[in-house]
């Protein structure tokens, strides 16, 4: 998932630099072109120039930090100052004070306007008061100019040096013109003052950009939180260098110690000790995992119990969490088609705005004089909001990618999101995807003459000795049954007591053993389960081989019905009838005394919430298919229990053809696979969704990785993709409509510059707020994956 791109990311918000506002960075530091540096580095230490205006730009001009817009540059400066010097020289305080002064200017200006409107009495006192208010406007405006004009001027000068016409240049021209004219007007006692226009422009532009930068940073905060997860140092316990060292200095092969309660700093294998580790951040699973010697532990997971000694397997920049960060980062940085289009448009936008503003100025100068020309062209520049256009798509995509990552879903890029919103069909692999690969007991039935408890007991002992999938499932089911019965207060069956010995496995067919005949007949004179006590078991184990031989013994079988029949057992008519009524994926029977005594129906165990997930996808209007290489009979059984049309006995290339056919029939197809045997199908699908554990997140075939096998995130993800599409559309519609209508009104001279400035903030806020809706949480986030039995 590592991209080989040459674009830069903003050092504050992490968005691609050239994608926002049509600006380009000053310099590209050479190291940034490599993929390892695709992640924005932490904000560099503060620039101690003492002048915030310089601090906003000086780093950029040295090529150390790159910001996508003035807002990010400013916000980065604010974060540095906040972190290092408290509020003493905070840029934010400047903005705050400027707002205070601007509010005063507004009140005095409104008072002057109200006199104009009502033509108040011209008494000398009122005249003096009017003059006082006019000077008050000047007095309160100057601090605003000093506080906020500097950074904007700095930015405009930088842009000029680069021979680019930007909004900043136009704005600063407008601001100086407004202040210059107003000062002249005050001196010559002309009627109109425009101090408030200059102040409002400065405040609105600065505030708007700060909000924009904060919004962008918020959309990308998942990355920041992931990055903060690793401790800064690791405790080395062998080799030449011991003690705490920075992570960068720890190479693979080193032995480190992780104290209880600490986060694991690097990927490694447990060398000594054992502990319980919370891997939720990597896999999304809530339940902590016990880790023994030889187990892999991922960096970023939390060591909950004992101290662990780990042999480091990956350097810090190769570790799982770093790859996770890279995956998310490059997903957002890879430009989708829509983003590239927005880029092209916004690169034309600023020059176009400049041309319209100049045209407006010329036209209005001729018709209405300098003041009208100045105000209308200022309105044009203010109302034109390239930012809304530039961030409309990337911000929404970023927010969605980031939100998905927080819910343990990794997206390869924005295009995956776009395609996900359009999918019509979702295909599932069966084993390992919808089902967990384990089986469960669906139903059981016993021969009329048999004692159920005895049958279960024999089956359990036979199953315990086999590693076959069905045996394990059966044994597990009996164990759970015991637990629940014990909880209900019933006497537990002695678990270790053996009545079956000489157990042999018949490869691929079943298990055979022998049991004392008197045991198998026990039901006749003594009730079975309760009488089997530990004492009996001990007595039993004392029975010598000689006794066993002397005793009359009988063969017992566990396996398929066919196996029992091949061994010479008959299937009683009642059981045969029952079996006909209950088609199942797998059948196991227990037999002795030349007849089948009991039948167990088994079925594959669905992943937790697989069925509700299917229902949700169906509600979302999606066509569902299961493509499996499994036998037809199993396919039918899974079709019956899920209600999804199932195509069975498919070879990998047939799966591929099936997907192409679905694509032609319905439209875009998503394939969900567990990523090992489904690669051809995944490649053929429009959106490849892989389930995988965090160990292997960088696989190439998948557009989407569901970490921690969280299959139930799928409907949420489809919803997120559709929401994102809606948000992008509304954003773009808004940005276009706003600019079209706004510029039209402004050029016609129907829009006051102050209203334009407020509208500009409103427009950016709309786009930011609309996009940030996508980062809102999903209530089910973080739930552990569990397997549940599906009711028969």
């Amino acid at each position: 998932m590592v991209s080989t791109r040459t674009e830069l990311n903003c050092d504050f918000c992490g968005l691609p630099v050239s994608g926002v506002g049509g600006r380009r960075p000053v310099k590209s530091a050479p190291a940034k072109a490599t993929s390892a540096d695709a992640i924005p580095p932490p904000i560099p230490p503060a620039d101690r120039t003492g002048d915030a205006g310089q601090a906003w730009t000086s780093k950029e001009s040295r090529g150390e930090a790159v910001y996508c817009c003035t807002g990010c540059r400013m916000a980065a400066a604010i974060s540095q100052e906040t972190a290092e010097t408290g509020q003493a020289r905070s840029t934010l305080t400047r903005l705050g004070l400027a707002i205070f002064f601007a509010m005063n200017v507004m009140v005095f200006t409104m008072a002057l306007w109200s006199w104009e409107i009502y033509a108040m009495d011209e008494s000398p006192a009122m005249h003096a008061l009017r003059d006082l208010f006019r000077y008050a406007c000047l007095v309160f405006s100057l601090p605003v100019l000093l506080l906020l004009g500097g950074p904007l001027l700095q930015s405009a000068i930088t842009d000029l040096a680069r021979r680019r016409i930007t909004t900043d240049i136009l704005l600063i021209l407008g601001v100086f013109a407004a202040f210059g004219y107003s000062a002249l007007s005050l001196w010559r006692d002309y009627e109109h003052l425009y101090f408030e226009v200059g102040c409002m422009i400065l405040v609105a532009v600065t505030l708007g950009r700060w909000l924009e930068a904060t919004g962008k940073a918020r959309a990308t905060r998942t990355l920041q939180s992931l990055r903060r997860l690793l401790p800064a140092r690791a405790m080395l316990v062998d080799g030449a260098e011991q003690g705490e060292v920075p992570l960068e200095l720890v190479s693979p092969g080193a032995l480190i110690r992780v104290l209880a309660g600490q986060r694991v700093p690097l990927d490694g294998v447990v060398e000594r000790a054992a502990a319980v580790v919370d891997e939720q951040i990597i896999t999304g699973e809530l339940d902590p995992h016990p880790k023994q010697v030889g187990d892999t532990v991922y960096g970023g997971s939390a060591n909950l119990q004992e101290d662990l000694y780990l042999r480091v397997t990956h350097a810090v920049d190769q570790g799982t969490i770093q790859r996770l960060i890279q995956a998310v980062s490059s997903a957002a940085a890879t430009k989708s088609r829509a983003v590239r289009l927005a880029d092209v448009i916004s690169s034309w936008f600023v020059p176009l705005t400049a041309a319209i503003a100049m045209g407006t100025f010329v036209v209005h100068w001729q018709s209405g004089g300098f003041q009208a020309a100045l105000l209308t062209s200022l309105s044009v520049v203010l109302i034109a909001c390239p930012c809304a256009l530039g961030i409309a798509t990337p911000l929404a995509v970023w927010a969605a990618v980031s939100s998905a990552a927080r819910h343990h879903v990794l997206l390869r890029d924005g295009d995956a999101l776009t395609k996900l919103a359009q999918i019509r069909v979702v295909c599932f692999d069966k084993t390992g995807t919808l089902t967990s690969g384990n089986v469960e007991l669906a139903a059981m039935q016993f021969a009329q003459s048999a004692d159920p408890e005895l049958v279960i007991r024999v089956a359990r002992e036979l199953a315990a000795s086999s590693t076959h999938l069905l045996s394990r499932g059966l044994w597990q089911a009996f164990a759970e049954r015991d637990t629940s019965r014990a909880a209900d207060g019933e006497a537990a069956v002695a678990s270790i007591a053996g009545i079956v010995n000489n157990i042999q496995s018949v490869a691929g067919l079943g298990v055979r053993g022998s049991a004392a005949r008197r045991r198998l007949r026990a039901t006749d004179d003594e009730p079975a389960a309760a009488s089997w006590t530990i004492a009996a078991a001990r007595a039993d184990s004392r029975v010598g081989i000689a006794d066993a031989v002397a005793e009359s013994r009988e063969t017992v079988w566990l396996g398929s019905v066919r196996f029992a029949q091949a061994e010479g057992c008959t299937l009683p008519a009642d059981l045969a009838a029952w079996l006909d009524e209950h088609p199942a994926e797998a059948v196991c029977c227990v037999a002795w005394d030349r007849q089948v005594q009991g039948i167990f129906l088994l079925r594959e165990r669905f992943r937790d919430r697989a069925l509700p997930m299917i229902a949700e996808l169906r509600r979302a209007g999606l066509e569902l298919r299961i493509l499996t290489g499994d036998r037809n009979s199993r396919g039918r059984a899974i079709e019956a229990s899920t209600g999804i049309a199932t195509v069975a006995e498919l070879l990998p290339d047939e799966k591929l053809r099936a997907i192409r056919q679905l694509h032609e029939q319905y439209g875009l197809v998503a394939m969900v696979g567990d990523g090992i045997n489904d690669v051809p199908a995944l490649t053929a699908a429009d959106v490849a969704i892989a389930l995988e554990s965090g160990a292997d997140i960088s696989r190439d075939a998948a557009d989407v990785c569901l970490l921690g096998n969280s299959l139930d995130r799928l409907p949420w993800l489809v919803h997120l993709a559709r929401e994102t599409r809606t948000v992008v559309r509304t954003n773009l519609f808004w940005a276009f409509a706003y600019n079209l209508v706004g510029i039209g009104l402004a050029a016609a001279g129907w829009l006051n510059p102050i209203l334009a400035a407020i509208a500009m903030i409103g427009s950016s806020l709309f786009v930011i707020g609309n996009s940030l809706r996508l980062t809102a949480g999903d209530p089910r986030a973080g739930d552990a994956e569990q397997e549940v039995a599906v009711a028969p």
Binding site: L92, G96, L97, F100, M103, V107, M110, W210, G769, L772
Partner: protein, 231 residues
């Protein structure tokens, strides 16, 4: 303006129900300073910042009301309409506060302005405290909107400022008490106070509606504006 005392009182009592939003802010202010005197100064300056913003909002609303009254004088009595709107809004807020209406979900902490405000609240300098108050004044608050509408209804900058500053002054006592982290009142007493606050806000709303209705039919001219708030 005989409403001013009523506005002040509903400011005093009404602010009790606003503590959910502004209370923690006042508490944050107090954390930095342990000495009572220092804390008091900070609380007062904080409130001064809020009242400044309320005043500016009142001025803007008054100006806007005046412009509206001036531009549409013959069609409709704008101040009266605004008074009715303000009254209805306040009454609605009162109903909410009295728990007679179901509340809608609160705006979460995802507000972009929150980090802005927090920066100032934690600042040591009094200038930061003043700015914190200034920005708190912009926080969305139903009660505030009601009084802004009332200020607009006054159709005069001066009276708009007066309405809002009076309301702001009314909110000072409870905010300062909260700032000291004092639980001067027990839970039951607080509950009674909240109820009283709700009634007082409803009363202010009802009076505003009543006055507005009384003036609705009166045709007025911009130059001889009769304000329904001052008879």
């Amino acid at each position: 303006m005989i409403e001013l005392p009523l506005i002040f009182v509903s400011g005093v009592l009404g602010s009790a129900h606003c503590l959910g939003m502004c209370g923690p802010l006042a508490l944050m202010l107090g954390q930095a300073k342990s000495r009572v005197r220092q804390n008091l100064v900070r609380q007062l300056i904080y409130s001064a910042g809020r009242i400044f913003t309320y005043g500016v909002l009142g001025a803007c609303a008054g100006f806007a009301g005046m412009r509206m009254a001036a531009s549409l004088p013959a069609l409709i009595n704008i101040p009266a309409v605004l008074a009715i709107v303000a009254g209805a809004f306040l009454f609605y807020q009162g109903l909410l506060a009295a728990d007679w209406l179901p509340r809608r979900g609160h705006v979460g902490s995802s507000c972009l302005g929150s980090s802005f405000l927090a920066t100032f609240l934690r600042g040591p300098a009094l200038r930061d405290v003043f700015l914190a108050g200034l920005f708190t004044g912009f926080l969305p608050c139903g009660l505030l909107y009601g009084y802004v509408a009332m200020a607009a209804g006054s159709a005069s900058m001066g009276r708009g400022i007066l309405v809002m500053v009076t309301f702001g002054l009314g909110t000072v006592p409870v905010m300062i008490a909260t700032g000291f982290g004092s639980s001067l009142l027990g839970l039951a007493a607080r509950r009674r106070l909240f109820r009283l606050a709700a009634y007082s806000v409803m009363l202010a709303g009802a009076v505003s509606i009543y006055r507005g209705l009384g003036f609705l039919g009166t045709e007025i001219h911009a130059t001889t504006t009769i304000c329904p708030f001052c008879w």
